[in-house]
Amino acid sequence: MLAPLSWLKEYVDIDVTPKELEEKLFSCGFEVEELIEVGKDISNVVVGYVEECEPISDTHLSLCKVNAGEHGTFQICCGADNVHAGGKFPLALIGATVYATAKDHKTIEGVMEIKAGKLRGYDSFGMLCSGTELGLDDNLYPGAGYNGLLELPEDAKIGADVKPILGMDDWIFDIAITANRPDCQSIYGIAREVAAVLGKECKPLDLSYTETEVAKTPFSVSVDASDLCPRYIAHYVYDVKIGESPAWMRRRLALVGCDSISNVVDITNYILKELGQPMHAFDYSYLEGDQIKVRRAEDGEKIVTLDSREFALNSSNLVICDGVKPVALAGIMGGLNSEILDTTTEVMFEAAKFARDNIRKSSRALGQSSDSSARYAKGVDEYTTVVAMKRALHLIEELGCGKVSCTHVDINTGNSIEPQEMKVSVKRVNGVLGIEVPDADIVRILTNLQMSPVIDGDELTIQVPAFREDMESYPDVAEEVIRMYGYDHVTPTFMPTAEVTLGGLNLKQKTELKIKRALCAAGAYEGIHYSFFSPADFDLLRLPEDAKERNAISIINPITVDLSLMRTTLVSEMLYAISRNQKRGILDGRIFELGNIFVPKALPLTEYPDERATLCVGVFGEEESFFTLKGLAETVADTLCLSFDYEPAAKPFLHPYQTAKIFCEGIEVGYLGKLAYEVQSELDMRTPAYVMEIDLAVLSQWYGKYVTFRPLPKYPEEKRDFAFVMDKAVTCAQVEQAIMKSCDFVTSVSLFDVYEGIQLPANKKSMAFSVVFTPREEEFKKDTVDGYVADILKNLNAKYDISLRA
């Protein structure tokens, strides 16, 4: 929201500097995002009076003697065709800064500093300037667009700074307006706040005009969709003379970035900026049937808007129609068929309130927007709708561009535009804040905010202006009071009236943190990746068409297709992370992520999907192997006081012989494996990678497992080492389990060597295990363990044809 200081000053006597005003606005809830000094690039340009001016023969130049008052008199070479003795022009002194222009004298190419120079052998001590060189155009200052020198008024004081004369000493506040204050999306709305924060009066708008006895009959307005248009005001203006707007209006519009078009159109734009009420002007001669009808569009109905774009409409779009056809897309843009032209002589002004949601939706759906639609989408109040029409009619008269008829139609749903009385308890207002704001301050603040407060005991009665639709109850009053009273009055307290509560992490949170810390201790770094992924990831992972991972929730409005699905696996992003690291020259490392996967119960979603906490670990580098990653799986198991079992498995993106499923107490909890070479090369990885995914949602059933101390053995343990010979197909786990099952006293079985080679038949291998026997109630007798060993050997032989290696 742009608000020029000069415009605000029309309504408030501002006696603080722009910087001070910026701070005041900031303190009461209006952050000035940028404070723009209008003539900030221009310096040391003064009024120069050309005393002598002689053409230099054979050139287009003139040699001038320019009086700059207190600054001296200078010889200036000037190439402009309108330089003449007796004229006053902006003179850029040596050291001045002005805009440099391109050869067309129009395009600004940057800021230049004026230096003493020589043209065609003649010294020149400064430069007489055009409007463009000062950053001005015809809208900002009349005549400034001329391709030559900018002629200054005759009464301009010689040697004086040109900035105040040309309106370049102005400031523009670019203010961020919060969504609860649509009333401040206007110069006058800001002026009200400025007045309140400075404790000054906000001068009333001039709404005066004289209605003639001329009436437009027959003429009628009907609103068929009062839900989308609670108020529609139309007023007929005749004897219209389309022309240029006065300089002051054109300047103001230019300062807030609005082009001047013609007096009548400019009035509507001026009202939009000054009051925040979008208005529209129809050329009445193009309205058929002497009527205005506000209704929902018919399906397929068409309109061409002012910018010559055609739209096919439907019943969710609101249109303004004459007796025959749509003439405006309500709140968004007028129709080309009733546009104000130079020939226009009669105008129907429209000021209306349209439902903000409808305007926003229509604007988005049609891809058509305007300052009006942007304004409506923020919310317009009916008080302002009424005031705006009066102000527009006032301006018609002030500009002398038409006569105000007595044909005025106001179709409304009975909403009051009078202030509404609100009674609140002073105690409750202070109760929100936690401090006691003195009554006198409450009264002062609310008076400044035009709320006419009266305090009687604990009862505060205010009259809420109709434009303050955000004021609903005592917390709103508390906010008004504190933002003007000052937040620095809020003193810190530490919930003296609150009950003591127990805080902290729950079991799931604690356990997840424990897992993370254990993985960190094992050399892994935690990564966080996006919760969305790409449909292309399914193909990267070679997932078959019926893979459960392909059943992913899609985002209706994703940023790109690559971020269009909710993750059903963490592995693809882990692989990308490893690949990125390798591309940056990091060829080994360990990364883990603990995040959710999203499993829909039905698609499209009809209930909350299953968000499953999942752990993904990725390790890469020449030093890593299936077994180093398996070590991390064991780290997780140890952290949770669990033990995992592993079975050979297959995954389409993993090595066919280096992949395993992970089980806990017989329940599958995840998988791990070496990345398939095809995927490795597709991701340009130079070193091998290994990945693991564990479903923590399943694992969480064992969180918080009770840890019991096992007493140390009373009697000495016995350890025996065996080298077995067996078929290559027999697994380590099978042997371990068979040994454990063969004897109750075995407390540990661990593999310490594997041999395959010429000493054994081709289909055989040798595995060597250490087995620990732990006595319980009594010491092992001399031959006890030998007996156990015999049992073990017998079982192994029977089950897997395993024998002791000779």
């Binding site: 009461c28 809830g29 919060t178 969504a179 903000r356 989408a377 109760g431 929100v432 804040l433 936690g434 401090i435 917390p475 709103d476 508390a478 906010e479 504190i482 933002r483 937040y487 620095d488 810190p492 307290t493 530490f494 919930m495 003296p496 009236t497 609150a498 009950e499 509560t501 127990l502 805080g503 992490l505 949170q509 993370k516 993985l519 960190c520 201790a521 050399g523 770094y525 935690e526 990564g527 966080i528 996006y530 919760s531 899609s554 985002i555 209706i556 409005n557 994703p558 971020l563 992370a577 990125r580 690291n581 940056r584 990091i586 990364i591 999203f598 979603l605 909350y608 999907p609 968000e611």
Partner: protein, 347 residues
């Protein structure tokens, strides 16, 4: 007598011989070996002297024994002296041979780090847990009702324009704010409520300073007599713990549909102490979070009696805190798992 004199002479001779040989020894090992040889009871030069006792006249035996023992004692102490000397010398040489360049790189045990955002999250949850807050994690996928409507942001509310929402269906969306958790907490639990709710949130924003996913931590307190001053007091404590005990807070008016009054909270710049620097863009203040007194409509919607209870809420962007604290200049770096980045932050 002749016997004794002869033997005495022999002892003196042996002493001389031993002395000569000992002087030739060069290591503790040779001392040890020589000692063994010399003192051997059967063959040793000194050890075997006692065997000569038989040859010594009876009355001189004592004298002879004494002399032999003196010789033995002398040899023993000589051996010890030499041994000590050689051992010291050998130790010195051993040490010398093991001289290293202490400036060579250390051998470290590889350990990883938690993600910077997790580190900040843990610091925050620790602080809030110590103040009696529970930690509630909501779901990333939410309904329109919990994310907006119940937070006083009905469908036509202009505040919805503040946040570009990812929709999954007309009803379901990716939560744009952890505030969604407020409602679930209040539906499940009666006051007193003190809860922080950390989690991922999503907005359709993707440029140099925005990431479509980031992490927030919402805080909610509902109890009797809670005021804006309590919000200020709690935030004062919190920022001091996170940014240092000199840190000050400043409240300024703002707007969120679910709080009234609403404030932005700035902290005094912890880099320049408030004098103005690059970090705080010369203002001396850094915006860190949004907060406010919980809107009565939100409380009433959850069945909380606003005549009895009131509350405050706040929302913190964890990436922002991490970036401020650790000087990380680009939010995207936090989601790339670049080990060069992750290795640096261990707080």
């Amino acid at each position: 007598m002749a016997e004794l004199n002869e033997l005495t002479g022999k002892i003196a001779k042996i002493k001389q011989e031993v002395q000569n040989e000992l002087e030739k020894l060069e290591s503790s090992k040779s001392v040890y070996e020589y000692k063994k040889v010399i003192l051997d009871g059967k063959t040793g030069k000194i050890g075997s002297l006692m065997k000569e006792m038989g040859k010594v006249p009876k009355e001189q035996k004592a004298d002879y024994g004494k002399k032999v023992n003196e010789l033995k004692a002398w040899a023993q102490s000589y051996f010890e002296e030499l041994d000590t000397k050689f051992r010291q010398e050998e130790m010195r040489r051993r040490y010398e041979s093991e001289k290293i360049d202490v400036t060579m790189p250390a051998k470290k045990h590889a350990h990883g780090n938690l993600h910077p955002v997790t580190q900040v999250r843990n610091q925050l949850t620790d602080i809030f847990a110590s103040m009696g807050f529970e930690i509630y994690e909501g779901t990333e996928i939410e309904t329109d009702y919990y994310n907006f409507t119940a937070l006083n942001t009905p469908k036509d509310h202009p505040a919805r324009d503040m946040q570009d929402t990812f929709y999954l269906s007309p009803e379901f969306l990716l939560r744009t704010q952890t505030s969604a958790g407020q409602i679930h907490v209040m539906e499940a639990k009666k006051p007193p409520i003190k809860v922080v709710s950390p989690g991922k949130v999503f907005r359709s924003d993707d440029d140099a300073t925005h990431s479509p996913m980031f992490t927030q931590m919402e805080g909610l307190v509902v109890d009797k007599g809670i005021t804006l001053c309590d919000l200020k007091g709690m935030l004062d404590e919190f920022v001091k713990k996170i940014f240092g005990k000199e840190t000050k807070t400043r409240l300024r008016p703002s707007y969120f549909p679910f709080t009234e009054p609403s404030v932005e909270v700035d902290v005094s710049c912890f880099q320049c102490g408030g004098c103005g620097c690059k970090l705080c863009k010369g203002t001396g203040w850094i915006e860190v979070l949004g907060a406010g007194v919980v809107n009565n409509k939100v409380l009433e919607g959850c069945g909380v009696d606003t005549n009895e209870y009131s509350g405050f809420a706040f929302g913190i962007g964890l990436e922002r805190i991490a970036m401020l604290k650790y000087g990380i200049n680009n939010i995207k770096l936090l989601f790339e798992s670049d080990l060069r980045v992750l290795k640096q932050i261990d707080d």
